[in-house]
């Protein structure tokens, strides 16, 4: 299939921090018993990572897994790798009460680099200070008026996921919050 287009097709903006829609990303909602061996095997098969602890994101060879709720994970893979990951997980979870759903197209992903904390803290009621929010943390909250999930990369950049339909709104929010002159110089 050609002509695959993510929500904002890699839109970018730059101020005192830069904002980028990162394009299509494979994403799978997995629901089931997170403590089960079958789940561990499924997640391992799809990403090479272990099942994350509460509010954590684990990275593996072929993807990452984020803790969404006590019975839900978000598996993040390459866009192309989604079908095979789903197949692998369904196989591992055979016979378990579980759900595996492709949500890659239902989401948009943004990356904020530079003084990212000061941008994020304008929009989400979350403590982004270095002590409180470290790489590996995965936080669901709101970004101004829409739901979002966010995490911090080792390089200090933030990534966040929102619903595809709200991508333009989120991009506008992030861009205006990162606009020059708005430096807070508090967290970053």
């Amino acid at each position: 299939m050609s002509n695959l287009v993510s929500a904002l097709n890699h839109a970018k903006s730059a101020g005192f921090a830069s904002v980028e829609e990162t394009g299509l990303q494979g994403m799978i909602t997995v629901r089931g018993d997170l403590a089960s061996k079958a789940m561990a095997a499924a997640v391992k098969a799809a990403t090479g990572a272990a099942v994350p602890a509460t509010r954590k994101i684990e990275k593996g060879d072929t993807g990452a897994v984020a803790w969404m709720s006590p019975d839900e994970l978000l598996v993040i893979t390459s866009y192309e790798g989604v079908d095979s990951a789903i197949e692998a997980m369904k196989a591992s979870l055979q016979g378990e009460h579980s759900m595996v759903v492709n949500v890659s197209d239902a989401r948009a992903v943004f990356k904020v680099s530079g003084s990212a904390e000061d941008v994020m803290a304008k929009l989400a009621p979350v403590d982004f200070s270095t002590e409180a929010f470290q790489p590996g943390e995965f936080r669901r909250s709101r970004l101004a008026q829409v739901a979002a999930a966010m995490w911090k990369n080792d390089d200090g950049s933030f990534e966040l996921v929102c619903f595809r339909s709200t991508a333009q709104y989120v991009f506008d929010l992030l861009s205006v919050s990162a606009a020059n002159g708005g430096e807070v110089r508090h967290l970053s």
Binding site: D71, S104, D105, A106, Q145, R164, G182
Partner: protein, 1003 residues
Amino acid sequence: MSTRLASGGRLLNKGKAVEFTFNGKRLQGYEGDTLASALLANDQMMVGRSFKYHRPRGIVASGAEEPNALFNMGEGSKFEPNQRATTTELFHGLTCASQNHWPSLEFDVGVVNNYAARFLPAGFYYKTFMAPRAAWKHVFEPIVRQSAGLGKAPKDRDADRYEHFYAFFDVVVVGGGIAGLIAAKAAGASGAKVLLMEQTAHWGGRTPVDGGEIDGVAVEDFIASLVNELKAMGNVTMRNRMMGAGVYDHGYVLGYERVADHTPNAVGPRHRMWRIRASQIVTATGAIERPLSFAGNDVPGVMLAAAVRDYVMDYGVSIGDRTVVVTNNDDAYRTAIALKNSGLEVPVILDARASGGGALADEARALGIRVENGKGIAKVKGGKRVTGVAICAQAGEGSTLEEIKCDAVAMSGGWSPVVHLWSHCGGKLIWDDAQAHFRPDASCAPTNQNGEGFVVPAGTANGPLGLNAVLADAVKAGESAAKAAGFTPKSVAAPQGVASDEAAMEPVWLMPQGAGPKLRMKAWLDYQNDVKVSDVRLAAQEGYESVEHTKRYTTLGMATDQGKLSNINGLATLAGQLNAPIPAVGTTTFRPPYHPVSFGAIAGEARAETFQPVRDTPISGWHSENNAFFEPVGHWRRPYCFPRNGESHAEAVKREINQTRNSLGMLDASTLGKLVVSGPDAGKFLDMLYTNMMSTLKVGKCRYGLMCSENGFLIDDGVVARIDEETFLCHTTTGGAERIHGWMEEWLQTEWWDWKVYVANVTEQYAQVAVVGPNARKVLEKLGGMDVSKEALAFMEWKDGKLGDFDARAYRISFSGELSYEIAVPASQGRAFWDALLEAGAEFDVMPYGTEALHVMRAEKGFIMIGDETDGTVIPQDLNMQWAISKKKEDYLGKRAQERSFMASADRWKLVGLETLDGAVIPDGAYIPAAGENANGQRNVQGRITSTYYSPTMDRGIAMALVHRGPDRMGEVLDIPTLDGTVLKAKIVDQVFYDKDGEKQNV
């Protein structure tokens, strides 16, 4: 006159002149000036007119408590009314104008109110303007409105931007004066994360004004090194130009940062609202000096004693050549001494205390200043500027003992701690007899989520006024806040200042204490709202005894300064009149914000494009490019229609419908909710949610279903497809996706938590396109791929496969009555799929259509629409949808509710179709009256229109209506009055107007 002195002005950069404009006059100040100090330096003492009597008003204070110096500031899209001169930093090019006068500040027609003041006591408007009845609206109210109000209304859209910032601290210290700095240090030493905020641009507050030493160094140097020390602490954040605006429950603090008020041309936000969560809050907010209540205390040139000192010391401005000081405490002597030391005249200090002052009084006398004990001011002379005072005995009734010429009066009635932030969230106050003020009651602190106190007052905000007591209190406050936040404070010794021995203050609530009615009518309590001692006394006399009654009856403390100067004096006056102790009369509740904050800052980034989220489908871009007229549906924007070449909306809708019915139409249906419901109990679960039976649905089939609330009312509808044995895909309405997803989760999590069902919202995973019309099959066949023939994909079936290049799921369902497929493709393929359909459909003249065509076509077919046929008061039985209510099920959500007497009654309004006899379109929302009136004199009604359209297909008006026992009355003709007075006649008919037998969709 007021003027700039040759020397002094510790906050000024005299090397840098700043030009500004006041009432069209070009004036000059210095960098570091406030607008107030710059105006005074230019002899502009009179700055406005009061609210009610339009009396001349001068600058009274030097800080946020200023009631009079409010200006229209800036121009055009940067115009702002009611900006306080005392909290406005001077910048180059500042323009401002005084308010509330016509035609000019110097000559104001409104001042007639002043001459009639005797006829306008507190509450006079409650007693008059009642006849004739129409006069209030047409005569009196417009006059009142025009003469009230302060600044002008802004006209243009605000050019500035605003933002919020969420921040988290262990300890937030509000106030960057000496107490705040020390408390921050004490808290910071424990390792706690500390924010120190200060509303002005300077650290150190008022302490440096009075000079002296702390720990053996000059106060200014002590503060400078303290600030440096704090700046070096990694766990302490310092922000100036940031005001603690409000304290809310659970340690929530609003910090109002005026980022660019002093640099209006800078790029960036003007204000930033910090939404702070703090474990503990230290309020080091200082104290405010009280005026004294004597006749003429509002004449320009009468100023708070400490403010007079501030202007001399901080800004090198003298407010007059000859200043009379009047006081009931020792602090005002400092003003006299400062003035004398600056080479200015202080003809007399009037100390209302019979026993006079302490060491400072001796110092003043030593400087040659005349001091009169037990004396006060009987009356201030002058109109637009003080010209002199009449001196009297404080103990008497105001006989003039002597008149003294002067051009300024510095008054001090004692100090009141700033307890606003302490009180915002429920902190209680106690009355301190010695200082005659309310201070925080440590035993009744505001409590947080753990039931523990979370606000700690520090320094003068906590009551102590002496320097050493303040320093010690601040250390204690910082340490106890750190401890309460879970840190171990390091014991820090309190710094030591050099304090002078002060005599006790004596409360003076009226000067002289026996002042008669004439003097009381000129003794102001609230300058801005024009409330005088006589008004408060009158309120008490008339039975408005509660302090809240008095406030509201007189408007005391309701002005833009929120009673910072007037509250205690007013309360004491009321208590005096009621012959009750002050604490028994009580105090009023303080509400946020401490000081007004801009609405722009409260709204933050939520303006214009980011006012609210706009949700787009993968195909929205095409709609925008093709002249769609959008309508908001929840947060979505959906095309209402696509007008072409100057068409009206009605014409466009007609074209879209005709072409769809005759050949081929397509609709972006991506906004419809799509919920995957899966698990061994999924069928059982859906049987509870829908009124009809879903568990019996065969894999590969679709079924239309209804959902009701537990209260029985219809809340959503849609088509359910069974994907496999354990999996269903439920379509909801556009507005229903999140709501119904939440509804399902709620039941699964809170009622049937042992049922094995998972739900996922996959609404946005797909772009969904309805391909509709006689040529629908042909265009899909042209794309190629899956077999969409009647045999392979029958009505109410679904199927996965490829259509052309696209990964598609095709549902053979119809909301228009035509041959119709709804095709879901992954969202990232949505736009390409839409384009491919347009290209393939070109030969059929394919017609994209909008929501209005969708609505009309479904109405032609007699299908209900949630939100039209339903409004939250309609049950499925009203819509004759018994066919969709399973009789076999013991239970479903809403079933019990529908058994209640009123709902089970046969006597309800039920759905029918209506056809006007002349083909006219019935207006939206019309009601159908019945004969007679009810007991309240209202016309009886027997039904109402739920949907009404011009039907291009039938070329006539069609409607659906809920009519009393409607289905039993087929063929009856009803009268339907319209708002223009005409009456339409409409016949009750079947609600299906088009293709009753479904021949068009079953092909």
